[in-house]
Symmetry: C2
Subunit: 154 residues, 2 copies
């Protein structure tokens, strides 16, 4: 996907920012790992393979920049670090995540299905929804089959 690359350069120019080898390297790593939920440290280690002199702070700053531009999305799975995923532009809104409290696995939900709730929010609160972050906690298929219990926590 070179589309993200072109879009990145255009958005940088539009905001008066500059393209650098470090930014290119970080975006490359993310593009090469589409579908994964990489942590900042993992991205740092991957980038260092090609650019051993890059600073960790630059990785943090670049990920913040890519998140602002919505080329990537920041995730919080409560595992002590930030994670990021490529915005695949399939949908207008962010996809949801299913987090299994038993095995820790993370699945993605293709369906949005929040239109009626967003209409309700506009009607009841006058709030215009532009995007959302939705996580569901519970038992994945495998875990609910293997241990057919009922106890559960968030």
């Amino acid at each position: 996907m070179a589309g993200e690359n072109i879009q990145f350069r255009e958005q940088l120019k539009k905001k008066g920012y500059k393209m650098t080898t470090q930014r290119q390297a970080i975006l490359d790593v993310i593009l090469q790992h589409e579908g994964e939920h990489l942590s900042t440290e993992e991205i740092y280690e991957l980038v260092k393979k090609e650019h051993p002199d890059i600073g960790l702070a630059t990785v943090y700053r670049t990920l913040l920049l890519l998140d602002d531009m919505e080329l990537i999305y920041k995730l919080d799975f409560d595992d002590g670090c930030n994670r990021y995923e490529l915005n695949r532009h399939k949908d207008d809104h962010r996809h949801h995540h299913l987090i299994c409290t038993q095995c820790g696995g993370v699945e993605e939900v293709e369906e949005d299905l929040l239109e009626s709730l967003e209409e309700q929010i506009l009607k009841n609160y006058g709030f215009i929804v532009l995007n959302h972050r939705v996580k569901f906690y519970g038992y994945c298929k495998k875990c609910s089959e293997n241990s057919p219990k009922k106890a559960g926590q968030d």
Copy 2:
């Protein structure tokens, strides 16, 4: 509300944990500030008024414990610190938050309205939803009235 207090003591005993003056003090502060979204540091400062010798690490650990017990909920408004709110037990599931990207204001949504989406998730993914975390980003009533523009970001 002494209900939370009793529930707290019962859950501690059931898990073999102990009630301490520090834990009581922290829960008291949270109960006295129902409806607010206090940060760890803010809770620490409030607790110190009555218990000046308490350690910050104890506050962090106790908030983690209360979150595990679902007496409180951890919030992430991307403002550089963790925030917490009392679980008011009004609903089975957590309420949603509306976050205005213009003024930074946070509103709460009473309606859940996720039943059909959760059914869809069970049908399509075999995932049993126990709880969820939902944040909507956009323009609050005031901000969308004061500046009737269209541009927007997540």
